[in-house]
């Protein structure tokens, strides 16, 4: 073969070239694609493979844009490490659905009939065998005077009056304890727990179900199952559930405990103003033994003057737009007792992804992040309607650089780590 190499490298067999290109980062892959025609073809092929998204620790944002409106089921995955967009097709009619969360690579949505679906935007798989909404403890169908079901409406008990809600607004957020696709052959007591925050009065009750369960289990707590705004799971096995409330109280529940669901207070209520949207982020980098980062985001009227004027005289115009007024961060160390220490620095190179997705933080190679600059908070939709913060519609990332794209036109983005494996329903 000596001497006959003219063009050999530009003619590498496809399997060999692809093996090589697959190991490259996206930047090198794009540059390798500009070497010659054959490499360009191969590079495009490799970039079309979903495996790039499956690389561990490759966080993505999922969103829809107005430009994709032609095909309503098309969404965009934007890889934050590659700075690259991938077009993904979601199964079923999803765009009009409400996005309720994203955990472990799966998007949680609710359809017009209040049925929940878990969708893997990369593989296109959909899990729809979640328990029906009517098995949520306080939720009933609305009946008319003749006892017939009123379509499209639900009633939430128990109250001194009846809260009637449309299906779209029954749910606040959905969380998964683990990737459902790793939930294989477990027999009973499967790994993945779906946690639901649902609407009530006050908002934020917790119910949960394991995949395959016929009904939701409502958490009964000594002082009421209410006000929860975010949850987390124990990092090792996902058995312990941590719920953080609007008043900054943090409670721990043992999902497999005896007696079931006994509540332990990790942090007592800190603030009763109820104007906070709080987040609980697993932050092992802050200390040994499972530290949490508590992020308290105080919401308020965007236009304070107009709001004050409107309070005094309700005939004046007021747009009702709320936004983030301040953000404070606290280090919560369960081992150190029931205190929270305010911190001004995230502890070096870390970025937080907060909002509709399961809150998470990751190490980034940008300058250190502090809360001192409000401009560093990119809340893609800062407004919230009414007095309760619509956490499900917001996405904010605290990062020191402009990692996030701005100018969202369509649906507010969710942060998630793509998951590639398929979920197999062990019950069928």
């Amino acid at each position: 073969m000596d001497g006959g190499h003219a063009g050999a490298w530009s003619d590498l067999p496809a399997d060999v070239l692809i093996t090589i290109l697959e190991t490259l980062d996206i930047g090198d892959l794009v540059r390798a694609g500009a070497v010659c025609q054959w490499w360009n073809t191969s590079s495009s092929y490799v970039r079309g493979l979903p495996h790039l998204l499956s690389r561990p620790r490759t966080p993505c944002l999922l969103y829809t844009t107005a430009a994709a409106a032609d095909d309503p089921n098309v969404a965009t995955l934007y890889s934050l490490t590659d700075h690259r967009s991938y077009t993904v097709k979601l199964p079923g009619p999803h765009v009009h659905r409400r996005w309720l969360g994203a955990s472990h690579g799966w998007l949680a949505t609710a359809d017009d009939n209040a049925a929940l679906h878990l969708v893997n935007p990369v593989t296109g798989q959909q899990i729809s065998n979640l328990p029906p909404v009517t098995t949520v403890e306080p939720v009933r169908r609305l009946l008319d005077d003749g006892g017939a079901v009123v379509p499209g409406m639900y009633v939430v008990y128990p109250y001194d009056w009846t809260l009637r809600v449309e299906p779209l607004y029954l749910y606040l957020r959905v969380f998964l304890s683990s990737d459902p696709s790793s939930d294989v052959g477990g027999g009973g007591g499967g790994g993945c727990v779906v946690v639901l925050l649902h609407r009530s009065r006050p908002d934020g009750q917790i119910s949960f179900a394991r995949l395959g369960d016929p009904h939701w289990t409502w958490i009964r707590t000594p002082t009421g199952n209410e006000l929860y705004v975010d949850v987390g799971f124990s990092a090792d096995d996902g058995r312990m559930l941590y719920g953080i409330r609007r008043d900054s109280a943090i409670h721990e529940f043992d999902l497999g405990g005896e007696p079931a669901l006994e509540r332990t207070t990790i942090l007592p209520a800190q603030d009763g103003t109820m104007r906070h949207t709080n987040y609980l982020v697993d932050a092992p980098w802050l200390g040994d033994g499972g530290c949490w980062l508590m992020v308290c985001r105080r919401m308020g009227a965007a236009n304070l003057q107009a709001y004050a004027a409107w309070l005094a005289d309700r005939s004046l115009p007021y747009d009702g737009v709320w936004n983030t007024h301040s953000i404070k961060m606290y280090r919560v160390d369960p081992a150190a007792g029931t205190t929270a220490a305010e911190i001004n620095d995230l502890g070096g190179r870390h970025a937080l992804f907060l909002g509709c997705n399961s809150s998470f933080g990751l190490a980034v190679v940008v300058r250190s992040i502090t809360r001192t600059t409000r401009s560093s908070t990119r809340s893609t939709r800062q407004s919230a309607r009414g007095t309760s913060a619509f956490t499900a519609w917001e996405m904010g990332a605290f990062i020191g650089s402009s990692l996030l794209r701005r100018g969202w036109i369509g649906r507010c983005p969710l942060g998630l780590y793509p998951a590639l494996a398929a979920y197999s329903n062990r019950l069928e």
Binding site: W9, T19, C36, N40
Partner: protein
């Protein structure tokens, strides 16, 4: 071509003990015969399956896609990995050192690297293939397209339209 290297090596060891130190003849496309231990030849999944199928062990294996120079170098790798133990830390370190020097030499001669990569692919020598493709990937990393072309002696054959499309992708990326 995917063979668990640990299991494969163990199987190879067992096989070798069973069959004693059986020798196998590999013939290059120039007709030159190379006599190697079976353990060395079994580094190649292609040859291994032929041996296990009771194939032409006595007649030897003609390799019409591999020239003598390349085969000699490939055998050098197979001898090192097939005939030597890799149980202790020191033994493994010695192998790693061998690999490092082996690939450094090939890295300096891209035409030869190409031939060895093709042979490793054809003969399904997993470790060697991983070694050479990694070396090629490392050469690509951090380079501009022009630098990559220079490194591999690739001729520029993109059309203006290709260029435009690549630029377009790059701005999206």
């Amino acid at each position: 071509m995917a063979t668990g290297s640990g299991a494969a090596a163990a199987a190879a060891d067992a096989e070798e003990k069973e069959s004693g130190s059986r020798m196998i003849t590999l013939t290059s496309n120039e007709g030159k015969a190379f006599v190697v231990t079976e353990a060395s030849a079994r580094q190649s999944a292609t040859i291994r399956s032929m041996v296990d199928d009771g194939g032409c062990v006595d007649k030897g294996f003609p390799l019409p896609n591999v020239d003598s120079k390349t085969l000699a170098r490939v055998i050098q790798y197979c001898d090192e990995h097939g005939n030597k133990e890799a149980h202790t830390v020191d033994e493994r370190a010695a192998l790693a050192k061998f690999d490092k020097d082996f690939i450094a030499e090939l890295d300096a001669d891209k035409a030869f690297l190409y031939d060895v990569t093709m042979a490793a692919n054809y003969l399904h020598i997993q470790g060697l293939f991983a070694l050479t493709t990694q070396c090629i990937a490392d050469t690509i990393k951090g380079k501009t397209p022009e630098e990559i072309r220079t490194a591999f002696g690739i001729e520029y054959d993109l059309t203006a339209q290709d260029e435009e499309e690549i630029k377009e992708e790059d701005t999206h990326a």
